[in-house]
């Protein structure tokens, strides 16, 4: 079935249906955690946060907190009956600090009160006694102290030193890459409702309900089966609710257990930004050797990743940096090394791209440096280094089977966006414009699709058909705005040949589909779409068998379409068929299970095929900078992106545009600043600036590249969640190009994010 040919017969997939909740969104009728009608007697939880970044927790006086109006209970590490740990794997991240504090803003206790306002006010009355130590805050601090959260790790191939020594040209550089706050619009929230006999129902705004279930159970010292985690939708996730939602769910559940009443914890935005992890900031130290054409002979790179106070997902994140250190470029000899540094800052975590963006940005920087050294157009240098037949193996041993896709895609974009003519026009503009300078860049994206932790590449679905022909759809994927639910519903409607309105989309819950993977790694529709298709297909096959037996028709004559089933010269309404099947005692419920084929990864050897396939794209960005202030405008963007055969082109274009703009924010105005005490100074939207409507150029052209996935994915589509974020590398490179034009003496160091200050510093050398 995976290889089922697509064709004109398809009626529901490949169509630009609106988001299933679109009407509810615009009417204010879509419910998020804080909108769920609170059960009678619901209590509210607020956090007590560490006022120091590092030190021994010598004492904690909570008397004033307990005495405050409305306070019902106060919880500390001592009130955790099970394991005081929310870490996904490494047992290194407590629910509440115990003995020592690891970062400024670390939760130390929680207050449970009759109102949220009362809880928040009470939480500020604690007296901390912390024997403060000098915190380790930066990559340099951590390197100096030699503190890490995970062992160093490297892979590569060839004799890099020899290849560098033998190369015609050599360059080296250091690129600092900033982190990023997710800034999902709905902050972290959880509502825990205690049931009988120790049961706990947790409504959580999480991308990973199974992990919330598991860690709540672990903290409460009860079996997983006692805990149900449910999520209908999130108001944005972006990776920030993959592991980071767990702690709030656990605390709400602890409070519910302690009080016997429903308890809700919704973080205030400033707290949310202070206490949840972010994209890893990194320092990339790189060296490259290349020939006169700019073709790379060897690449040596060390990513010093600031992981924060615990491991969290840093193994996977930083591994993915390594997997994408090549981006789209063949590296004959490569050494890709990493350090996973421990700092007294919030533990960095998953964020759309999951480490990939940092690896790719460093590669793009190297391309620009090579081009500047040789005086060549950076696009020509990039193209000279693309994977190609015979130059098609990644440094980790996976062969790139579809090298033609990116080559064709970039050729098309280059022509469509008029790259060469604009390059000339920009040079002419810059020659006559002393203050304003323009820059242009066209950068590619090659992004590996699959969880690199191989066992996560599985998914389950549950489909019921009721007697009236309505269909209940459930699967392990979560909806965070990305349109997963409508895509999977389209798959199910296609399978049954029924209108999409017949398919009822339901909240994700661990009670229906167990042991799910996080909705992450862009894998949501690949995995859950396939699992749902299998579940629906099982029921469909039972209906087919029933038709064959009852009406004596051959399977090949049966067609499900237009809410009917056609066989021979007859037809039945779908609901009628279902009713008859029910009466004939046919089971109308099925589960589906899917696991991604072909993938394998040997981390010890640093070789394997971690990805089922690659998604491709390219973007061309044009910017103008003001050389007196460092301010800039994005003038035009052209994007051509490969989503295979799109399950839903409207949803996919939304992902591409949104991903690009989010990536643009990461590389331009979104700057995380920690002060000397380790306090996050940019802890609110007043100080942390994500893009607004006017930052997006009026001239923004986004096109889907017409191609089918070579691998047998769901209807030959490709994953789309993360890859477009890295299209924004073009903006950074275009700014860098404009800075080069302003200086007239080659490429100047420019770090990310390229804030106006960073741009001005690059132009003038030192401020």
């Amino acid at each position: 079935m995976n290889g089922a040919p697509d064709g004109p017969a398809l009626r529901h997939v490949h169509r630009p249906l609106p988001h299933d909740s679109g009407i509810r969104h615009v009417a204010g009728a879509a419910l998020y955690i804080d909108d769920i009608r609170e059960p009678d007697g619901t209590l509210h939880v607020a956090l007590g946060l560490s006022p120091a970044a590092r030190g021994r927790l010598a004492g904690l006086d909570l008397a004033a907190v307990r005495a405050a109006p409305g306070v019902v209970a106060v919880l500390t590490a001592a009130d955790v009956p099970g394991r005081n740990d929310i870490s996904p794997a490494n047992a290194d991240e407590p629910v509440f600090a115990e003995g020592e504090v690891l970062f400024h803003g670390q939760p130390v206790f929680a207050v449970v009160a009759t109102t949220r306002d009362a809880a928040r006010r009470a939480a500020r009355l604690a007296a901390f006694d912390i024997a403060e130590e000098a915190p380790s805050l930066t990559v340099e601090d951590a390197l100096a102290r030699g503190e890490t959260v995970l062992p160093d790790y490297a892979f590569g191939r060839g004799d890099v030193e020899a290849a560098l020594a033998g190369a015609t040209h050599r360059l080296e550089g250091v690129l600092r890459i900033g982190g990023q706050e997710h800034f999902y619009l709905e902050g972290q929230a959880a509502l825990a409702v205690p049931g009988e006999g120790g049961d706990m129902l947790v409504h959580s705004s999480t991308q990973h309900p199974s992990e919330v279930q598991h860690i709540v159970a672990r903290a409460l010292a009860i079996p997983d089966a006692f805990v149900t985690c449910e999520v209908r939708r999130m108001g944005g996730g972006f990776g920030g609710k993959e592991t980071q939602a767990t702690q709030w769910a656990v605390i709400a559940a602890l409070a519910a257990r302690a009080t016997g009443r429903p308890c809700k914890l919704r973080l205030d935005r400033d707290d949310d930004m202070a206490v949840t992890g972010k994209r890893h900031d990194m320092r990339a130290d790189w060296r490259v050797g290349f020939d006169d054409d700019g073709r790379i002979a060897a690449y040596d790179v060390m990513f010093n990743a600031r992981c924060g106070c615990s491991a969290d997902l840093s193994q996977g994140v930083v591994d993915r940096t390594m997997f994408h250190a090549d981006n789209a470029y063949f590296l004959p000899a490569a050494r890709i090394a990493t350090r996973r540094l421990k700092t007294n800052t919030v533990s960095n975590t998953a964020f759309r791209g999951f480490g990939g963006p940092q690896g790719m940005l460093a590669a793009e920087r190297a391309m620009d440096e090579i081009a500047a050294r040789l005086g060549r157009d950076p696009l020509d240098v990039r193209k000279a280094n693309f994977y190609a037949p015979g130059r098609d193996e990644t440094p980790y041993g996976q062969s790139v089977e579809d090298t033609d896709v990116l080559a064709a895609l970039v050729e098309q974009l280059e022509a469509d966006c008029d790259y060469r003519a604009r390059r000339e026009a920009i040079a002419a503009f810059n020659a006559r414009s002393p203050v304003l300078k323009k820059g242009l860049a066209l950068t590619p994206v090659k992004f590996g699709i699959s969880f690199t932790l191989t066992h996560l590449n599985q998914a389950g679905a549950l489909v019921h058909v009721y007697q009236d022909g309505s269909i209940h759809l459930n699967h392990g994927g979560t909806e965070m705005g990305q349109g997963l639910f409508i895509k999977v519903a389209q798959v199910v409607a296609e399978e049954f040949g029924v209108g999409i309105e017949r398919v009822r989309i339901t909240a994700t819950t661990t009670a229906k589909v167990p042991n799910t993977s996080p909705t992450a790694a862009s894998s949501g529709s690949d995995l859950n779409g396939m699992a749902a298709r299998i579940a629906a297909g099982t029921i469909r096959q039972r209906l087919v068998d029933f038709l064959c037996e009852t009406f004596d028709v051959a399977e090949g004559e049966i067609e499900f379409r237009d809410d009917r089933v056609f066989f021979g010269n007859e037809s039945l309404a779908f609901a009628e068929l279902v009713k008859k099947a029910y009466q004939a005692r046919v089971q109308l419920s099925a589960t589906g299970f899917y696991r991604t084929p072909k993938i394998h990864w040997d981390r010890a050897a640093g070789r394997g095929q971690p990805f089922f396939y690659f998604a491709y794209g390219a973007a061309c960005a044009e910017v103008t900078i003001d050389t007196m202030t460092g301010e800039y405008r994005l003038d035009r963007v052209d994007i051509l992106h490969d989503v295979g055969r799109s399950l839903n082109p409207a949803i996919d274009i939304g992902q591409i545009e949104g991903g690009f703009v989010q990536g643009m924010g990461w590389l331009t105005t979104e700057e995380l600043v920690f002060d000397a005490k380790g306090r996050l100074a940019t802890h609110a939207p007043s100080t942390y600036k994500i893009p607004v409507a006017s930052d997006v150029p009026a001239d923004f052209r986004v096109t889907l590249f017409p191609s089918a996935n070579r691998q047998a994915t769901i209807y030959r589509s490709k994953a789309v969640g993360e890859p477009p974020l890295m299209l924004a590398n073009s903006v950074f490179c275009a700014i860098s190009d404009a800075v080069r034009a302003a200086r007239g003496d080659g490429l100047a160091p420019l770090d990310a994010p390229a804030t106006p200050e960073a741009v001005l510093r690059a132009i003038v050398g030192a401020l």
Partner: protein, 491 residues
């Protein structure tokens, strides 16, 4: 004396007489009325997820303003109709703004969507069809993390193209009548001597009340005080809201001067100041967001004493006189004299700002530049305002230069002014000396917005840019956005 606030909600008058003075509109909506369509995204008026629309009668016209419900105090809706996202669809039919948002795929996660719908509703209700910048201005106070905004901007244009007789619009007359019926001239006081939300209706009543309660918190738009409530968790037992004081919002234009009343909103200030010079219009366009400008006031921005408030430097550069009143006594002083030190103003207990009078440029050359990380809805790293009175021979007769973000207060660059006075506008050496003199005038700080070195350098470059532009008469070559000629041509 009225002992309740009154507002219109879903065609009915709501009277609120028992509420804590600090109660926000958002909390009232979500916790008391239990309308959860309006979302809290940040609790500080920056993300716009909580945007609702207030409709008021202004000079007999029904005016719709978007506001951030999270930092608006409940008492501030007195006399208004409160419209939320749940109120738009009529008879199962979506409002054109909602319909366009669905059709254009303008929502993804949907959490910012109610606020965006309400911002677009306010724009729609103006009946105007702005250009793209007009649309992005209307959306500058609404953060969306999912879509990249393109579909939202397109939805705005679609909806604005469908201004027709929708059932929602037909109700406007009824609403206007209901609001007219709510009008009175009574002083309002909800609470008691110990804790109250008061809204005096006259200047005299305000002066008396504040003299009796100098410990009360004066609130105009609450765009800053709202955060004391939501973030600092400050208890504000006594609040005096200025929004009902008759005449305090007056904007008076005379031949040589413009007087802005303390409670004139930043929207009105933009209209009045923008007419004086295109740079002032652009400065005010980028001041906060539409929601903030609709609530925030001239007096609030000044009295608040923020070192980075954009209004004060611009007004100081023009030459401005501040009006204050305490009891029956009034006084006036040059605006720059009001700012004593970081967050410390020349204001006595019980004294309040009544307005500010600025000199019109009248031939003087004005330039104002706001430098931020993000263009829209961002607080200035550096804001420079320049006003040069030029002699016919091209020399500077009088230079007035003020900066925000360069000191603990909005401050004049007197040393730089002195260097330029008498110099030719295109005297490069004088310009460089003036830039150097800024080091005498200012010792800026490093913070999360910018480093001291950047601020120092940009302050000098802004001065240089102003001089270049005035000397050459060409600003297209020095600006990324909003050339003065383009804007003139458009007017």
């Amino acid at each position: 004396m009225r002992r309740a606030i009154r507002f219109l909600r879903r065609n009915e008058t709501v009277e609120a007489r028992n509420f804590e003075p600090r109660t926000t509109l958002l909390d009232w909506l979500r916790l008391t009325e239990r309308s959860t369509g309006t979302k809290e995204g940040c609790g500080e008026g920056d993300c716009g997820a909580c945007t609702v629309v207030l409709r008021r009668l202004v000079d007999g016209r029904l005016v719709s303003n978007p506001v951030n419900a999270c930092i608006l105090l409940l008492g501030q809706v007195d006399g208004a109709e409160v419209l939320t996202v749940e109120d738009l669809a009529a008879d199962g039919r979506l409002h054109p703004v909602q319909q366009a948002m669905v059709e254009r795929h303008g929502s993804q996660c949907g959490f910012c969507t109610p606020g965006i719908v309400m911002s677009l509703l306010a724009l729609y209700e103006t009946g105007e069809t702005p250009d793209r910048q007009g649309v992005t201005d209307a959306l500058a106070g609404n953060l969306c993390r999912c879509t990249g905004y393109r579909p939202i901007v397109e939805a705005a244009f679609d909806a604005l193209g469908r201004i027709e007789a929708d059932p929602f619009a037909q109700r406007r007359l009824e609403v206007a009548e209901a609001l007219a019926a709510l009008r009175d001239e009574a002083d309002v006081l909800v609470g008691d001597e110990r804790s109250f939300f008061a809204a005096p209706a006259s200047m005299e009543a305000l002066a008396r009340l504040y003299l009796d309660h100098p410990d009360a918190t004066l609130v105009a738009g609450a765009t800053d005080v709202g955060l004391w409530v939501t973030k600092a968790l400050t208890d504000l037992p006594k609040i005096i809201w200025l929004g009902r004081v008759a005449g305090l919002d007056a904007v008076m234009e005379e031949e040589a001067t413009l007087t802005l009343g303390a409670t004139a909103t930043l929207v009105r200030a933009r209209e009045a100041l923008g007419a004086l010079d295109p740079d002032l219009d652009e400065l005010m366009r980028r001041f906060g967001s539409q929601q903030v400008r609709a609530s925030g006031t001239v007096g609030g921005n000044i009295a608040n004493g923020s070192p980075i408030g954009d209004l004060a430097p611009a007004l100081i550069a023009l030459g401005a006189t501040l009006h204050l009143r305490r009891g029956d006594a009034s006084r006036r002083l040059p605006l720059e004299g009001f700012f004593l030190d970081y967050r410390k103003q020349d204001r006595q207990p019980g004294e309040f700002v009544t307005g500010v009078t600025v000199r019109k440029p009248a031939g003087r050359q004005v330039r104002a530049f706001k430098v931020t990380k993000r263009f829209d809805e961002d607080i200035s790293a550096v804001m420079g305002a320049f006003c040069f009175d030029m002699a016919d021979d091209g020399t500077v007769r009088e230079a007035r230069i003020a900066y925000g973000g360069m000191a603990g207060i909005p401050k004049r660059a007197r040393a730089a002014e002195a260097v330029l006075t008498g110099a030719a506008i295109d005297d490069r050496a004088a310009a460089e000396r003036a830039v150097a003199a800024l080091d005498t005038d200012f010792a800026p700080l490093t913070d999360h917005r910018a480093s001291a070195a950047y601020r120092r350098r940009v302050a000098g470059n802004l001065l240089m840019k102003a001089l270049m532009e005035i000397a050459t008469g060409d600003d297209a070559a020095t600006r990324l956005i909003a050339h003065r000629e383009v804007r003139h041509a458009a007017e």
